[in-house]
């Protein structure tokens, strides 16, 4: 499939994107920057900004790059609401200013942080102690002002004009905030008048760490992005690298990856559903949904050696083939998952409390969801049938029969039910894969990509050298800039990789589905009750590791 990579002048960037938007490129995937100061190929300017947009038929994406003579560029938040946080991130990490951005402040790093960590000149281990908590009051006041809940006084301060508001922090350390996410709300009684969110509490420097590890060393880091479904992150990353190398996996490896991807999807959805039902007070469901997850863990630990952080994929294949008897055990596990799903649905499907608490709560319509760059089950819940497995199939997904589950309203109910539906579809796919699992090797045979056999390492000098060089120097990826993605459990998970030809990526940017979903969250909960905000957050399945990276 051909995707476009174009370079435009900074002055034209806004109009180019706007024209593309008019042509139907109405989905913003990601924005990032590249610091070229240490890149071996010479470039005219030190910094470039990169925009990735997708066409509304979801088949084609365009990567637009612009070199910056000065560290400034026009904002595109007037076209895409999803650009708001993405631009803030570029500002935060690279110090590039977006002219006319409504709220240009840091997003991942602390407000006191000095410097821009993704610049090549920032030393990776230079930590900074930080003390002051951001009060978010200016952002909140602007939000309230725009909703005409407060009035600005002549002296520049603000006052409540018609409501008696109470301000409350949800998080950053709160059991219902699903990880370390902070939402600051203005309450009128129990109703949220305005909300603003602060993230970055789990910003662990994934992207910077990628710059001093080899491609295969990054695989364990990808596990820890979305730790509820580690293998799907592995696959998204190594697939991007393999695409850059131009290698094709054997049929067997592709089929196993499909099977593991779907198993991860199940794994992720059950934990999301278990948690959201606990938020609603339905603890029984937690046991029904979480116990099958334990069974998946047992299966995966036998296969990969680890319960949660599996690190099973390698560039060019995977660590091992399936073990004998895997298929039977997989069948048992699937049965248990189905049992858990059935029992849970029996409890909630016709339950009045469940319906009242979830229907028409935390609504986002299709248009807003697209504009905010939401993906995956959250987008499909709003009625948009975008699924990369159907729209841009890979690994032979076109061969398998399954349906894309879509909702209609985009409320908590739809997001929960879409996930239930997807579990069934994933099981269908797994069945089909296991019925026709091709024979063959799981790793490609290319001495410059995959490790030699242990026998060769121990008995031949070539084998030993090969192992040594590959381990120390890493897989050499040809010099290029590439965006690759898959339909991971939470939506489109993509990696934009800049390679300089060495065994270590020059730059890696993750297109994280949770990040953009979270940026849409504050507005989704405005106008609803405080307790509904908790359910909305849970149903979006925000995974802090992937959002903050």
């Amino acid at each position: 499939m051909s995707h476009e990579y174009i370079t435009v002048a900074p002055s034209e960037l806004h109009s180019v994107i706007y024209n593309r938007y008019k042509e139907g490129f109405n989905y913003l995937l990601d924005i990032t920057a590249i610091d070229y100061t240490e890149h071996i190929d010479s470039h005219d300017e030190d910094y470039a900004v990169v925009y990735i947009i997708r066409h509304k038929d979801f088949k084609l994406h365009v990567v637009i790059k612009t070199y910056l003579p000065t560290l400034e560029i026009d904002t595109i938040t007037d076209i895409f609401s999803g650009a708001n946080w993405l631009e803030r991130e570029v500002y935060d990490q690279y110090g590039i200013k977006f002219i006319n951005h409504p709220n240009l402040r840091r997003v991942l790093n602390h407000k006191e942080f000095v410097g821009h960590p993704l610049r090549k000149s920032y030393p990776i281990t230079k930590g900074q102690l930080l003390y002051e908590v951001d009060d978010l009051i200016d952002e909140m006041n602007n939000r309230l002002l725009s909703k005409e809940v407060v009035c600005s006084l002549e002296d520049g301060s603000f006052s409540d004009c018609n409501k008696d508001l109470m301000f409350l922090n949800l998080g950053p350390s709160h059991p219902a905030s699903h990880g370390t996410i902070r939402t600051y709300v203005a309450l009128d009684g129990e109703t949220i008048e305005a909300a603003v969110s602060e993230i970055g509490y789990l910003h662990r420097g994934f992207e910077k760490s990628c710059e001093n590890h080899t491609y295969n060393q990054i695989v364990p880091y990808t596990d820890r992005l979305n730790y509820c479904s580690a293998i799907s992150n592995n696959i998204a990353f190594v697939k991007t690298v393999e695409d850059m190398l131009g290698v094709t996996l054997s049929e067997r490896a592709q089929a196993i990856r499909v099977m593991l991807l779907e198993l991860s999807r199940i794994e992720d959805h059950v934990v999301c559903l278990a948690a959201v039902l606990v938020d609603m007070g339905g603890l029984t469901n937690y046991w029904y949904m979480y116990n099958p997850r334990e069974d998946i863990y047992d299966l995966l630990s036998k296969l990969t050696g680890a319960r949660l952080t599996n690190s099973f994929m390698r560039v060019g294949g995977m660590a091992n083939d399936l073990y004998d008897g895997f298929e039977e055990e997989l069948k048992e596990v699937i049965k248990k998952v189905q049992y858990g799903v059935q029992e849970t649905l029996a409890l909630i499907k016709h339950n009045r409390i469940f319906h009242d608490r979830t229907q028409n709560v935390g609504v986002i319509n299709a248009q807003d969801a697209i504009n905010a760059s939401m993906t995956g089950p959250n987008l499909r819940a709003s009625g948009v049938s975008f699924d990369m497995r159907k729209d841009t199939p890979y690994y032979g997904y076109e061969k398998y029969e399954f349906d894309v589950i879509v909702g209609s309203v985009g409320d908590v109910y739809d997001r929960v039910m879409v996930r239930f539906g997807e579990i069934d579809e994933s099981i269908k796919i797994i069945d089909q894969v296991m019925q026709n699992l091709p024979d063959g090797e799981v790793n490609i045979k290319d001495a410059s990509i995959t490790l030699p056999s242990k026998e060769a390492v121990y008995t031949t000098i070539e084998g030993a050298m090969n192992q040594f060089k590959l381990t120390y120097e890493g897989v050499k990826v040809p010099s290029k800039e590439y965006y690759g993605s898959i339909e991971a459990t939470n939506g489109e998970l993509g990696f934009f990789i800049v390679s300089d030809g060495s065994g270590t990526p020059y730059k890696v940017k993750v297109k994280a589905p949770s990040f953009t979903a979270m940026s849409a969250y504050p507005q989704m909960v405005e106008g609803s009750q405080l307790a509904d905000a908790i359910l909305t957050l849970g149903s979006l399945n925000i995974i802090a590791g992937e959002m903050d990276r």
Binding site: P175, G179, Y290, T309
Partner: protein
């Protein structure tokens, strides 16, 4: 005589040292405050779920309320941005309190040796028990719990044990 001897007749009066009675009471009623931030917190969910079932050890009252808790379990990566919050919550817990550092990240920063990750929570708060692993298996966390309970039972714990602790965020 052992306090938890099930064969005691019902009208027995037990004479013991106050310390021991208190230690015995604490041992079986630890209330964890789980400070879960990342992957390790998912493993904590497993510890709480029925297969590993932390309630077998009387430590299932997870209330997320520092003022009611006496056992802090830090499960996950602590970033510099998060550090003051962790310290504040630790400070809000009333004495006596114990801290379990769960996983490589909480113990040492794990493999996140970079600009945003605190290189171990013992740089800001005192830790009683370190659990290795990335993430540790649920059994490992239960083992840490049992170790703390044993210390409580045998009264090894000394109320002033962290008096000289000075963390990075403490005023010098």
């Amino acid at each position: 005589m052992e306090l938890n001897n099930p064969n005691l007749p019902s009208d027995t009066v037990i004479v013991t040292k106050l310390d021991e009675a208190i230690g015995w009471a604490r041992e079986s009623s630890l209330w964890p405050m789980i400070f879960g931030t990342a992957c390790c917190a998912i493993e904590f969910m497993s510890v709480a779920a029925s297969k590993y079932d932390i309630s077998r050890f009387g430590a299932e009252v997870v209330r997320f309320s520092p003022r009611q808790a006496d056992l802090m379990i830090v499960a996950g990566t602590i970033t510099y941005k998060q550090a003051p919050i962790l310290k504040q919550i630790y400070d809000q817990m009333s004495e006596p309190k114990w801290v379990v550092s769960m996983g490589a990240c909480a113990c040492s920063g794990g493999f996140y040796d970079n600009y945003c990750t605190l290189q171990g929570i013992d740089e800001i708060i005192p830790v009683d028990m370190y659990v290795g692993g990335c993430p540790p298996r649920p059994e490992a966390l239960l083992d840490a719990l049992l170790c703390i309970q044993k210390d409580l039972r045998t009264n090894k714990y000394n109320p002033d044990r962290h008096k000289d602790f000075k963390g990075l965020l403490d005023e010098s």
